[in-house]
Each structure stands twice: as structure tokens, then as C-alpha cells.
């Protein structure tokens, strides 16, 4: 077992443990903090698998922007305690866990049977320079479409988040 394999398994354990802790927390804030840990470990996995630029983007976008957005929303809205007894919570989790285990068994058998999955990954690295050149040489149109999607998301968020304080009569005003 090489050093890279040891690093991979350690990071995999960290990712799985922190994600598991995140999805069973009763408080959303605790779940978000565990999820930041999970995303940081995933960024290290990306770096290990030869994508340093995506590792940086994972830290900036996922662990930074998205999770901070979640935190702001949690601080904005009123906190609600989880309702239901422990038995009701368990009754919600039971079908999800059962179906998940079945899917996991099927996926494990499938991955073990399909040829090519036992081939070891050789260490390589796509430098950010090469990645950027490849992105804008072969995928320039999807980049533009994605930028348009982000613009639509911005407009939709502004529309949904506007204050509804003005009376119904004056519709001409633009500013909130």
C-alpha cells in the first residue's frame, strides 16, 4: 500500500464520518459545520486525484460561498425544534436506510463485476494553465451558457427576496 493509498483511505474515512454526522444532527447549524469539514476533505481528495484547480474551487465555492449562504439563512429564519418523537424520526429514516443499503449492495456488485474498475489510478495532475486552455478551447459555449444560468439565478433570487412592504397601488416604482 503506497502513501497515496493511505492518504486516500484516511480522507475517505474523514469524508464519510463527517457527512454521516452532518445528516443526523438535529440542529442545522451543527450540520453545516460538519459539512464544511466534509467539503474540505473532499477538496483534498480532488487534489489527490489530480485536480488542484477544482480543489481550490471546492474550498471557495462549496465550503466558502454555499455554506456561508446556508449559515446566513439559518441566522435569518426562526429556529424550529424538531417535532415528533424518537420513534417517528426512526420511522422516517428506516425506509431511506433500507433502500440505501440495497442500492449500495447492487452498486458494489456492479463495480466489482464491471471490468476496468480494478485498474489502479496512476497519479497525474492537470495544471490550472492546461485546464484553462482546454476549457476555453473546447467548451467555450457551455461556459457562456453557464454564465447565463448564473445570471438567471441572480435575477430569480433578487425577485424572490424583494420586500413586499409597498401597497398594491403603486406598481411603477422600481426600488424596493
Amino acid at each position: 500500500m503506497t502513501l497515496f493509498a493511505v492518504i486516500f483511505y484516511v480522507l475517505a474515512i474523514v469524508v464519510l464520518a463527517s457527512t454521516l454526522l452532518a445528516i443526523i444532527q438535529r440542529q442545522v447549524v451543527h450540520a453545516i459545520v460538519y459539512l464544511i469539514l466534509s467539503f474540505l476533505a473532499t477538496a483534498l481528495l480532488f487534489y489527490l486525484l489530480g485536480a488542484p484547480f477544482l480543489a481550490v474551487l471546492e474550498v471557495i465555492i462549496y465550503a466558502g460561498a454555499i455554506m456561508v449562504l446556508f449559515l446566513f439563512v439559518v441566522m435569518t429564519v426562526r429556529a424550529e425544534p424538531m417535532r415528533g418523537t424518537r420513534w417517528e424520526t426512526l420511522r422516517q429514516w428506516l425506509p431511506a436506510i433500507a433502500l440505501g443499503i440495497i442500492s449500495l449492495c447492487v452498486a458494489g456488485i456492479l463495480i466489482a463485476q464491471v471490468p476496468g474498475s480494478e485498474i489502479g489510478l496512476t497519479a497525474g495532475m492537470a495544471t490550472p494553465t492546461a485546464f484553462g486552455r482546454y476549457l476555453f478551447k473546447s467548451y467555450w459555449l457551455p461556459v457562456e451558457i453557464v454564465s447565463f444560468l448564473l445570471l438567471i439565478g441572480l435575477v430569480g433570487t433578487l425577485y424572490l427576496g424583494r420586500q413586499e412592504t409597498k401597497p398594491a397601488g403603486e406598481k411603477g416604482e422600481n426600488h424596493p
Binding site: A22, V28, I61, I66, L69, G100, S117, A123, G124, L160
Partner: protein, 101 residues
């Protein structure tokens, strides 16, 4: 050699199923959105591993697009959650059952 390709794929599958279970079993709207984020992250991990296996950069390009989609999805989703919480005063998915405007 790092690890066999199947191990990375198995890790991505486990992460994806954790996210799916979170999205299905939890009743809080924020936790449902967090489950969707975990699922997208697992898909990105599988894409990066496939990109390394076939020694190309197309998988990494797709992960970049997944990031953009996840960012815009979470922005609109959180705005929707805040909006509906302002309208109905609840963040529990079981309370959204009345179909009034």
C-alpha cells in the same frame, strides 16, 4: 498508483446515498437542500476520478459546470425557502400541504 478506480467509485456511491437519505428522511427544508448538495458533491468526486482514469480533462470541466449549477441552485433554493417561510411561517416540509396561494 493511488487506489483502484472501483474504490473511488464506491466512495462516491456511499456519499451519494447518504445525501439521498438525508434529502428523503429529513423534514427540514434546509436539510433537504443540504442533502442535494451532498449528492452533487459525490457526483463531482466520481467525475474527477473518471477524469484521472481516462487521462483527460473533460471530467474536470464537467465538475466545473456542476459547481456553477450547484451555486445557482442553492441561491434560488434558499431564496425560495426564505420566501415560503415568510409566507407560511414554517420550515417543516409536512406543513406545505394546503395549496393556497
Amino acid at each position: 498508483m493511488i487506489v483502484p478506480y472501483g474504490n473511488v467509485l464506491l466512495l462516491a456511491v456511499i456519499l451519494f446515498l447518504m445525501g439521498a437519505a438525508c434529502a428523503v428522511a429529513r423534514r427540514n427544508l434546509l436539510m433537504i437542500l443540504i442533502g442535494v448538495e451532498i449528492m452533487l458533491n459525490a457526483a463531482g468526486l466520481a467525475f474527477v476520478a473518471a477524469s484521472l482514469k481516462w487521462q483527460g480533462m473533460d471530467g474536470q470541466v464537467f465538475v466545473l459546470f456542476i459547481f456553477a449549477v450547484a451555486a445557482s441552485e442553492v441561491a434560488v433554493g434558499l431564496a425560495l425557502i426564505v420566501y415560503s417561510q415568510r409566507r407560511t411561517g414554517s420550515m417543516n416540509a409536512d406543513d406545505y400541504n394546503r395549496m393556497r396561494g
